[in-house]
């Protein structure tokens, strides 16, 4: 489904502080599976995730989605792909303070022009599914860490993306909340959604919900 061919990524290229975060990744990620990228800090997990999710472009190499190159697409096409194909759950959740939980969930769907009533119903369904129905009108800053994470997951799902991308989803959660997240992840696996996440939390990478673990170190795949 997603294929990477010799993908490399440099930051501050040509400057004294040039840094190669990825040094040549060739990888195929299967559809309808939960894939985890595991590695220490600085191994390039998050960089790889941002490239797969079209949030950044590689310095060299190609990334394709369903055999269609997405790494070289003009920006106007990338916007649509980001919106429809990928749902993002960020490490810090990145909810908009001052907005209610349901408004945060609906936000990525506004550019699609879907009818507001339909959008509200969908957002409510997602919040109910994640056991947050009672917090729909609570502002983002009033939510606990676990609630914020679940709102972030609902927001990532509002456009019904094919692929859910989560960067260190349990980094800010205690064990109980991390286990709750794994239960949610398991349900995604069961319904056949493609999930790609980064983690070095054993609770995540050793979970039965994760179908494949890819180890990374120093910008390379360990198996390479």
């Amino acid at each position: 489904m997603i294929e990477l061919k010799d993908v490399r990524k440099a930051f501050n290229q040509g400057q004294h502080n040039e840094y190669w975060a990825l040094s040549g990744i060739t990888l195929a990620i299967e559809a309808r599976r939960v894939t985890a990228l595991r590695g220490p800090s600085g191994s390039g997990k998050t960089t790889l995730l941002t490239l797969i999710g079209c949030l950044a472009r590689p310095t060299s190499g190609r990334i394709s989605l369903h055999n269609r190159d997405i790494s070289g697409l003009p920006e106007r096409f990338l916007t649509g792909i980001r919106r429809k194909t990928f749902g993002f759950v960020f490490q810090q959740f990145n909810l908009i303070k001052g907005l209610s939980a349901i408004d945060n969930v609906m936000l990525p769907a506004y550019p699609t022009g879907r009818p507001h009533r339909e959008l509200v119903a969908h957002a409510e369904t997602l919040l109910e599914r994640l056991r947050l129905g009672h917090r729909r009108d609570a502002r983002a800053e009033w939510l606990s860490g676990g609630e914020q994470q679940r709102v972030a997951i609902a927001r990532a799902l509002i456009n019904d993306p094919e692929v859910l991308i989560a960067d260190e989803p349990t980094a800010n959660l205690d064990t109980t909340l991390a286990k709750q997240f794994m239960a949610i992840l398991e349900s995604f696996g069961e319904e056949g959604r493609t999930v790609i996440l980064t983690s070095h939390d054993p609770l995540v990478v050793e979970s039965t919900a994760v179908h494949r673990v890819i180890d990374m170190r120093d910008g390379l795949l360990v198996e390479q």
Binding site: V7, S60, G72, L73, P74
Partner: protein
Amino acid sequence: MIFQPAIIALLLASAVSVTLLAAAAPFAVQVIRHWDIASGSERQLQLERRTYLFSTLAVFVMATQLLSLLLFVFNADKMSVMFVGAMCAVGTLNVDPFGFPALIAQMTVFFLAAAWLAVNHVDTRAPDYPLVRIKYTALLALLPALAAVLWLQLQYFLNLRADVITSCCGSLFSEDTKGLTGDMAALAPVPAMIGFYASLAIAFATAAFHAQAKRGGISGYAVAATGIVALIAGLAGIISFVSLYIYEHPHHHCPFCILKPEYDWRGYALYLPLFAATACAIGAGAVQPFRSIDSLRAQIPQVSARLAAVAAAGFLLFALVATVFVARSHLVLIE
């Protein structure tokens, strides 16, 4: 003489345009030589990223050229009060030998820029940059044209002398003058009107058909061809009879005096739709050679249909405005 706001603006616009295109030229050469969409090399990805910057610069340059023509004509008319014997822009343009060549060069670049903008527009609608090489080759070809415009404008503006007695429009656009302008002025009103309205009707009908049919190919080329013919016929019509009705004078054929405030700037109401329509018609034709490219198969009919619709509206508006000027005139030219 050169320190006139409009002259400074024109020279600045031309100089900036040439500088930007010259700065983009090495990149254009790189694109032409090394572009390979199938490659994931660092150079290819760099070229892809930089095309955004350089395409934006090129769009800015081309859009500047569209506005420069308007400013050039406006300035030529406005400066006529500074020269002995000049009644309108014709006098200003005749002060030195570079005036009319500068105007013609600016008009040529105006239409070339319109064609380039149309090609660039369709290219940005495809996910695989199908016209990138063609676009940048055209950009390199346009660089000498823009440099020529800058050189002609510099020669023209630097050689303007207030003590030169210049010839007015009466000598250039008169039935007795030898040459193209004299021939157009000498055209009999009825055949001129028939040619004028027939050309505009054909251009309008072709563009309207193309806009409606939303198909590429011959009708797209026909829009461009009939548009150019309509431009020539339109200008000839203005010289041969429309201007006479505006001035209400049977021998005043000048196509520039109609731009003056004494005639309520009616020339702008004629030229703006005519030139805009022709530019769109040329744009509709310019994109046709690429209609068989897979990623543009759906885009080109849509884009060229929209351009043709604007062209049809422009030609119609031009014909209506000219007809209103003729109908409201007190001059009786045809018994």
